[in-house]
């Protein structure tokens, strides 16, 4: 049996997922909370972004279930012995990618190394050639002639497979809609594809189709080739990028988790109570705001490094060590970024406390805590939500920058920041190694772009000032079905 390993960030991610699921269930049963989300689901860009984000989140979550494989044999006390290497479910799925390690750099889809090496021929002569790769295109007998047809062939196979998969998905959606609305199947198909449904199913399906096509083609190629090449130590870059997704998601979400309680509690109490409470909290965040964030982060991370160097016995595995550093980065990022939201919430609470329904509650003698939790908090939640989704992409980018500067995640952690950091040297050599940077860029760009588009859709739906219909009856739009 495998031994499950719970890393700190894993546990927090589970908590987060559980919270999201619980609140989704709660929102479903409350019409006024559901209405803006329905609007998000009506927006085409929002839906497309959600599909892409869902793909990222799935990969991230697969990468968050960690365990240790049995190492074979038993320890002296009879307990099973486990390998010191912590793996995740994603690692298991990507075993070929993970294990296909080359000598050093190789270009995407190459069959030979990127650098010349001296090879001893059977007749004893030494020649300097680009040697064949151990795994990349290893099945080909004559790479020069067979490589391109083989790649095209694989791409085609991948595309056909993707088409089948997508058709199955389409059938599923059409069948469900047809059953719910009692349409004929062909009519349902027509409505779905032409976008005449309540939710933009066609957009969702096309986005999912594009993702499936990409996944299937790269998946088929990755069996025999390194789709994004290999890095300096011969590791597959595609594997590295996929592993980096989790780091990005963890930074983007857990930092907000740290920041939220501070920002919400301090923000609304300052706005509601005013007087000296407000003064103290204002002084606090003004002071914190005037310390450069990078300085605090650097100091905290360096202190942690010292601690880890002095107490190696506390960390069973390398990955546990790296994980603690990741968590610490999240915490310190959260601590340095709560002031903006706090200020917003204070302003909103200042406005809300003068509203009639708060006055009415005070006239009933309702206590302060109850007013804060029942009347003020629910009415500022839209601001919190908008800020969280807007901040997400900023934090993902911040990780890359901080790691590049050297105060980010552990060098052993897979992250886009580390990949970009490595690319600093790769771009300086001749010929240039560009694929590491390109892969990190493409994946990070995809995540940040979809997060931003999603944030826009959320803001449009939740912000009362954005002017979309939020008045009476906004939830009852009848668009087609």
């Amino acid at each position: 049996m495998v031994k499950l390993v719970f890393l700190w960030t894993d546990a927090l991610l589970y908590v987060l997922v559980a919270t999201v699921l619980l609140s989704a269930w709660y929102i479903r049963s409350h019409e006024h909370l559901r209405a803006p989300w329905r609007e998000v689901l009506h927006s085409r860009l929002g839906v497309a972004a959600m599909v892409v984000l869902a793909a990222y989140v799935t990969i991230g979550l697969l990468d968050s279930v960690h365990f240790r494989m049995p190492a074979g044999g038993r320890a002296a006390d009879g307990a099973e012995r486990y390998s010191g290497r912590v793996l995740s479910v994603l690692d298991l799925i990507l075993t070929p990618l993970r294990t296909h390690e080359e000598e050093t750099y190789s270009a995407p889809l190459a069959t030979r190394l990127y650098t010349k090496e001296t090879v001893e021929l059977p007749d004893g002569r030494d020649v300097r050639i680009y040697p064949r790769l151990r795994y990349g295109g290893a099945q080909l007998r004559d790479p020069a002639r067979e490589r391109i047809p083989d790649i095209l062939h694989t791409v085609l196979r991948g595309a056909v497979f993707a088409l089948v998969l997508w058709a199955a998905l389409l059938a599923l959606v059409v069948a469900r809609l047809a059953r719910r609305h009692r349409w004929r199947v062909l009519h349902a198909l027509y409505r779905v594809l032409s976008g005449r449904t309540e939710h933009p199913w066609n957009v969702a399906l096309y986005t999912a189709g594009a993702l499936i096509l990409f996944g299937s083609v790269t998946g088929h190629l990755a069996v025999h080739y390194h789709v994004f090449g290999t890095d300096k130590v011969g590791q597959d870059v595609f594997y590295e990028t996929l592993k980096s997704i989790r780091t990005g998601l963890v930074i983007g979400t857990l930092s907000t988790l740290v920041m939220l309680p501070l920002a919400i509690v301090l923000g609304i109490t300052a706005g509601y109570f005013r007087s000296w409470v407000d003064d103290v909290i204002q002084y606090l965040y003004t002071t914190l705001n005037s310390i450069p964030g990078v300085l605090l982060i650097a100091a905290a991370i360096l202190m942690l490094e010292v601690y880890m160097a002095n107490h190696p016995q506390n960390f069973q595995t390398v990955i546990a060590r790296a994980d603690l550093r990741l968590l610490f980065l999240c915490i310190i990022l959260g601590i340095t970024s709560w002031t903006g939201l706090c200020r917003l919430l204070r302003g909103e609470a200042l406005k809300l406390r003068e509203l009639d329904y708060i006055q009415a509650a005070q006239a009933f003698g309702v206590g302060h805590t109850k007013i804060l939790t029942r009347h003020i908090l629910p009415n500022v939640m839209h601001i919190v939500l908008i800020t969280v989704v807007l901040d997400f992409s900023g934090l993902v980018l911040a990780e890359a920058v901080l790691t590049y500067v050297g105060v980010g995640v552990d060098p052993t952690t897979y992250s886009w920041g580390n990949m970009i950091n490595g690319a600093r040297l790769e771009l300086a050599r001749d010929p240039v190694v560009w694929w590491s940077l390109a892969a990190a860029f493409v994946f990070m760009f995809g995540l940040v772009l979809s997060a931003n588009l999603f944030a826009d859709a959320v803001r449009d739906a939740f912000d009362p000032r954005s002017g979309t219909t939020r008045g009476p009856g906004s939830g009852r739009r009848d668009v087609g079905a």
């Binding site: 006024h32 509650a361 009933f364 109850k370």
Partner: protein, 673 residues
């Protein structure tokens, strides 16, 4: 040349597209003659403002669009003009003033610059000539000493002054037609009177036509030459003023007149229009008013009534006046003699439920790093009043005079600086914590704005029971639920399932009922009503006033009714107290004060109210200037700088109380000894 300046034919405007589009304007036809005032009268949501915006082609883009009809200004169809040509019409041939004073002027430009901008655009003046024209305009709209105010920013001006500046901007292009969209709704009556006066004078001087959009019958009675009553997107009655006010024909117009509260109607409930305005998303086949009309029959449901001319220039859309259909009309239902509202006999002053003596509420003005107190806003400065058991005291005054602060001080939502508030024999100002909380069930409040007075994220049931839970009155969940349902029924037939719905699903009138139910939930003895009907339409206001009156008769409630609407006061109140700048200047029984006011301020206030009945109209007493700031009230009598009858003594000391009758008191040197 015909004397018709603007002609609208069958104008149709929709908001949104497809099936769910709102038919905001649905076949409006009207004609405005030169130099004439056409008043477009209607309740909120009937399409008045949308008609105005369609004429100006200023509909909210991209949702709003005109789908049919013609708007002809002296032979040119405005709907066919290009945007560039239209820009010359706006502000040039047609001027417009809006209701929203706060947002209509740019806060970072001086008023001189803003007027000059429009003048320059339409007259191409520059330099000295431009400045001269701006000063001339400011003078013509009655800005005192324009030279001094030309460099002022909007925030330095009062509401009335801002509205004058808005009118000056609208007049800058010397328009032939001025569209005024509820120009005085946001203003106090005394300022309203001035602005209406100004509009009349300007119209007389320049001969421009005025399209006046309003919901106020009184304003229409004073201003209009021609009246158009709008209902659900089109005009249902169009007539010259005099015959219209003498004998309105359409059942809707009649109901509007009947629902206006007055002194004569005190003893009976006001007429109400049942139901609410139909949704404008649907297509109408019959008469639009059919569901709410007391005299409707089958023909009204099936055939849309066409225009019938009943007299010269008087037309109405109603089958009652159409011989082809009128046979089927039922006889007007005999109105049952309204049950006289039972009122408890006037108790002597020993039985006062609430007695406020010398209440003072000052807000400190802090400045500097260490928040030193550098001054005080004397929002309430020595108010004494009393509310008897089962009685209604109306507190009347202009905005900013401290009415609402008095209410909050009585409810202990703001702690008074000095004075005493005795409620049922208990001094409230010294109560703290638990003792005060226990007392809170006896006095409750209803607010003005039905939209901000309920938490939008709570269900109606939770909102209504909040007080019961907080005060621990009913601890059993089922009992509480039953009580909420009972209350919702009591305030006017809200169904029990309303409990599980959210505030946004209800109309303004229904929300106000829910607020009343919330206040009633804790069985209070006194309810402070802070302008509970001023955000509502006349017909809805009548429903709420009836409800308040019925509840008073049934439960023996006392009301402290804060309002600036004197017709509501005359209908509902027993006593009235007139407030000016933090002090009460006159108080007494409602009949005495309204019929024979003693204080010049009360006189001015009463004279400024636009009345429907021409016979009872008084000469408007103009008040100079604006309400002074409570930070630095004038020495002597606070009212003397504006008082038309000020004497030297008024400048020196504040007048004491003079008793006129048994319950009638006034603070004025005119009546002093």
């Amino acid at each position: 040349m015909s004397d018709v300046l603007l002609e609208i034919e069958n104008l149709e405007t929709r908001i949104g597209a497809g099936e769910g589009a709102v038919r905001a304007v649905d076949g409006v036809s009207l004609a405005v003659r030169r130099g004439e005032t056409f008043a477009l009268l209607g309740e909120s949501g009937c399409g008045k403002s949308m008609t105005a915006l369609s004429i100006m082609r200023l509909l909210p883009a991209p949702a709003g669009h005109v789908v049919g009809g013609r708007v002809i200004l002296e032979g040119t169809d405005l709907l066919g003009l290009s945007e560039a040509e239209m820009r010359r019409v706006r502000g040039g041939r047609i001027g417009m003033i809006f209701q929203e004073l706060m947002t209509s002027l740019n806060p970072v430009l001086t008023i001189g610059e803003q007027i000059a901008e429009t003048v320059h655009m339409h007259r191409r003046l520059r330099g000295r000539a431009l400045r001269a024209r701006v000063l001339e305009l400011m003078d013509s709209v009655g800005v005192p000493s324009p030279r001094r105010h030309i460099g002022d920013y909007p925030h330095q001006l009062s509401g009335g002054m801002k509205q004058r500046v808005m009118i000056a901007i609208a007049l800058a292009g010397e328009p032939q037609l001025l569209i005024a969209d509820e120009p005085t709704t946001a203003l106090d009556v005394t300022i309203q009177a001035e602005v209406l006066d100004l509009l009349r004078r300007l119209q007389h001087e320049t001969g421009m036509a005025l399209l006046l959009i309003t919901h106020d019958l009184g304003v229409v009675a004073q201003m209009a030459d021609q009246v158009g009553v709008m209902y659900a997107g089109h005009i249902v009655e169009e007539a010259p003023r005099a015959p219209f006010f003498e004998n309105p024909h359409h059942p809707y117009s009649r109901k509007l007149f009947e629902s206006v509260p007055t002194m004569d109607k005190r003893d009976r409930p006001l007429a109400v229009i049942p139901g609410s305005v139909p949704e404008l998303t649907r297509v109408f086949h019959g008469c639009r008013f059919v569901d709410r009309c007391a005299r409707a029959w089958e023909a009204c449901r099936e055939i849309a009534p066409a225009w019938r001319v009943v007299a010269d220039g008087y037309r109405v859309r109603c089958h009652l006046y159409d011989p082809a259909h009128a046979d089927g009309a039922p006889e007007p239902a005999r109105v049952p003699a309204p049950a006289a509202v039972v009122r408890p006999a006037r108790s002597d002053h020993g039985a006062d439920l609430l007695r406020v003596t010398d209440l003072e509420i000052h807000f400190p003005i802090q400045s500097g790093l260490f928040k030193r107190i550098s001054g005080r806003v004397r929002a309430v400065d020595g108010v004494s009043l009393a509310v008897g058991v089962g009685h209604t005291l109306a507190l009347v005054g202009e905005s900013g005079c401290g009415k609402t602060t008095v209410a909050k001080g009585i409810l202990q939502l703001i702690r008074p600086t000095a004075g005493s508030v005795r409620f049922d024999g208990v001094e409230l100002t010294t109560l703290r914590g638990r003792a005060l909380r226990r007392r809170r069930r006896d006095f409750q409040i209803i607010f003005q704005d039905p939209f901000s007075s309920m938490n939008p994220r709570m269900m109606i049931g939770d909102i209504v029971e909040e007080g019961m839970v907080a005060l621990g009155l009913v601890t059993d969940r089922d009992a509480r639920r039953a009580r909420v349902e009972e209350l919702l029924g009591q305030v006017g037939g809200l169904p029990a399932r309303a409990r599980e719905r959210y505030p946004h699903e209800f109309s303004g009138g229904q929300r106000q009922r829910i607020c009343i139910a919330r206040a009633l939930a804790v069985d209070p003895k006194l309810i402070v009503c802070d302008e509970p009907t001023s955000a509502l339409d006349v017909s809805v206001q009548a429903q709420i006033l009836n409800l308040l009156k019925r509840l008073q008769g049934k439960l023996g409630l006392s009301y402290l009714f804060i309002t600036h609407n004197l017709s509501v006061v005359s209908y509902l109140a027993d006593d009235v107290a007139v407030m000016y700048l933090g002090r009460i200047v006159e108080r007494g029984a409602v009949g005495e004060v309204l019929e024979a006011p003693c204080h010049p301020y009360t006189e001015a206030l009463l004279s400024a109210v636009p009345v429907i009945d021409e016979a009872s109209r008084r000469e408007v007493i103009r008040l100079e200037g604006d309400l002074p700031t409570p930070v630095d009230p004038p020495a002597g009598c606070h009212f003397h700088p504006r008082c038309p009858r000020a004497m030297p003594v008024c400048r020196e000391h504040y007048p004491g109380v003079t008793r006129i009758g048994e319950h009638h008191e006034v603070r004025c040197h005119l009546h002093g000894t």
